[in-house]
């Protein structure tokens, strides 16, 4: 069972490797990746350094080209594939059918994983990508319950990767247009969700207000912690009731499920957070390394250690974590 950690920068990558990641995943500094945030990601020169560093430690590096190619700039996405392969990355994580097809025909030996942005949630969809493009692994969207993950694990021949920890996308990834509805930029087209350029904070007499492209996402009383205005985690009104109609600010945490994920042969646990700091990556990686080592040694005696939970909670959105859709009660 692989521990796959995020790296939005070279220092984050070093932190992940140092604290026990089996593999890291990165993106290029352009719109081909779904975490296209200012100040993050790798230009070709730093990518070569990242590959060298990772390989020197005997670990693997995955590169996400997981937005959808624009019609008149399609070549940029193909170019990203060419560049990544030339730099020697081990795995490409891809969502767009046309890019999968390009890799299949131009680099048939290249290992390809299906990005969560492709939104493959069922056996038939997995077959679509497996038969035509030879994807070796599928990253499952965060909408499946554990029993559904289990059913898939038992019926498919591709390797499965699941999100283990980090920001919780509550919508089926790759099919959520909420961000472009409000700002014009979405994960699919721009690699962005609730982009920072559209965020405004306003200090009022009684509250602190967050807006996204001028839409009020939340208002915080002085004693409340103000979180980033991700639009699906806002506080809105429904028939006079004010609450978080979609989701509260919270992070996904699957530590409790670890033995079961292991038993079902889940190949890789993905930690979300290419936008996070090296210190965050270091702390999270350390906890998950320890937890996975426990499971590998004695899966039946595995118990979540309280110090792991404490670290993870302290690094979570709103200091809250949830098991998310993996458990039916969340739905």
């Amino acid at each position: 069972m692989e521990l796959l950690c995020p790296a939005g920068s070279l220092p984050a990558l070093k932190a992940a490797l140092k604290h026990g990641a089996d593999a890291v995943y990165v993106g290029l500094k352009n719109q081909t990746n779904a975490r296209h945030f200012t100040g993050l990601n790798f230009a070709e020169g730093t990518l070569q350094d990242a590959v060298a560093l990772t390989h020197a430690q005997g670990k693997k590096i995955h590169l996400a080209i997981n937005t959808f190619a624009h019609p008149e700039q399609w070549q940029h996405w193909a170019q990203a594939v060419d560049d990544a392969i030339r730099c020697g990355v081990d795995v490409l994580i891809v969502a767009d059918v046309s890019i999968l097809h390009y890799i299949r025909t131009s680099y048939p030996q290249q290992e390809v994983h299906l990005s969560v942005q492709a939104s493959a949630t069922n056996q038939a969809a997995i077959e679509f990508y497996q038969q035509q493009f030879g994807v070796q692994r599928v990253v499952l969207p965060r909408v499946l319950a554990m029993n559904q993950v289990r059913a898939l694990a038992r019926s498919t021949t591709v390797d499965l990767e699941v999100f283990a920890f980090g920001s919780l996308c509550i919508m089926a990834e790759g099919r959520c247009y909420l961000s472009s509805y409000m700002t014009g930029e979405s994960p699919n087209t721009a690699g962005a969700c609730s982009p920072a350029a559209y965020v405004r904070w306003e200090e009022k007499e009684e509250y602190l207000e967050s807006r996204l492209n001028n839409v009020v996402i939340d208002r915080f009383a002085p004693d409340e912690t103000a979180g980033y205005p991700t639009l699906c985690k806002g506080r809105f009104d429904v028939d006079g009731q004010r609450y978080h109609p979609l989701e509260e600010p919270t992070s996904l945490n699957t530590l409790d499920l670890l033995p079961e994920l292991y038993r079902e042969g889940i190949k890789s646990l993905k930690i979300e957070g290419r936008q996070r700091s090296p210190a965050y990556v270091a702390a999270i990686t350390k906890v998950w390394r320890a937890a996975i080592d426990h499971v590998l040694t004695s899966p039946e005696r595995f118990q979540v250690q309280s110090e792991w939970s404490a670290v993870l909670s302290s690094l979570s959105e709103g200091s809250q974590t949830t098991i998310g859709a993996y458990h039916r009660s969340w739905k």
Binding site: Q148, I170, Y177, L178, R219, F236
Partner: protein, 290 residues
């Protein structure tokens, strides 16, 4: 221009549905999409009921297409999808790659719905080669984006093999989740939802704290708070769009169909209401109106 009636996205009682489609049979529509695309627990109408409606609508001169579920998770949902694909008679709209897989494996033609991620000429060409005969563009794309795709050589050489369709009227389906937001709004778990969305024939409106309509909750689906309406863009669409889709509303759908038809050449533009939008088509944030 051809006009289609999209699948009913909300959960309406059986008699409401049957009355609605009896009316639809009398309307100047070219195509009618039938089927549950949001939640597999909604079973007021089952496949045999939809098939009966499909035959009636066909006798009334409509082309009928069976629309399928968007978020497929359970093996039982795949089995139901298979029954739709194997209907033996009507064209099927795929809203998930799982459906594309079933249809292409069976050598059947299909419509690719808006939740199929087709953003460029190469993906479009691939889908056409697998049997796609109509393409409903993803809702977040603009008229410009569509034109860019259509002028690429890969698409030009296949242009006679497929039609283009654009979602032109109704609350936009913007996201699907494992969680049921309507059940959550009533403080229920999804497992004990008691199909409460049947009480909200227009979904439940979510407003921001300063009163703007932001979203509409429709079970596991989140829709745009504002109603998308391209009636005034219609005159400029004839070159790139073959069919416009109107998404059913509990009131006024047929009147809007008349207004669209009346404005084909731009002779009867409409002043949009403040809670309507057209941003996506115009390359703006979707919620904008211009």
């Amino acid at each position: 221009m051809q006009y289609s009636l999209g699948p009913v996205l909300y959960f309406w009682p059986k008699d409401t549905m049957q009355r609605f489609y009896r009316e639809a049979a009398e309307q100047p529509l070219d195509t009618v999409y039938l089927g549950e695309t949001v939640c597999s627990k909604r079973r007021e109408l089952k496949l045999p009921d939809y098939m009966a409606l499909a035959h009636e609508l066909r006798e009334a001169g409509k082309q009928v297409c069976l629309s399928t579920m968007t978020l497929l998770e359970a093996p039982s949902e795949l089995r139901e999808l298979k029954r739709y694909c194997d209907n033996g008679d009507f064209l099927v709209e795929a809203n998930d790659m799982g459906a594309v897989q079933m249809l292409r494996s069976a050598g059947l033609p299909f419509v690719a719905g808006a939740a199929i991620n087709c953003y460029n000429q190469h993906t479009l060409a691939l889908l056409v080669d697998q049997g796609m005969t109509r393409w409903l563009m993803p809702v977040e794309l603009s008229g410009d984006w569509l034109a860019q795709i259509l002028r690429q050589p890969e698409v030009q050489e296949r242009r006679h093999l497929f039609e283009t369709e654009v979602f032109a009227f109704g609350h936009l389906p913007l996201a699907w989740s494992a969680r049921c937001f309507t059940a959550r709004s009533e403080n229920r778990h999804k497992d004990q939802c008691e199909l409460c969305c049947i009480r909200y024939p227009k979904g439940r409106t979510v407003t921001s704290q300063d009163g703007r309509e932001v979203f509409v909750l429709n079970g596991i689906q989140t829709q745009s708070g504002e109603r998308y309406n391209l009636v005034n863009q219609l005159p400029g669409m004839h070159k790139s769009v073959d069919m416009l889709r109107l998404s059913p509303e509990i009131e006024g759908t047929w009147e809007w169909l008349q207004r669209f038809r009346a404005n084909e050449q731009g002779n009867a533009p409409i002043t949009l209401a403040s809670n309507e939008c057209n941003g996506y088509w115009l390359k703006l944030a979707g919620m904008m109106q211009q």
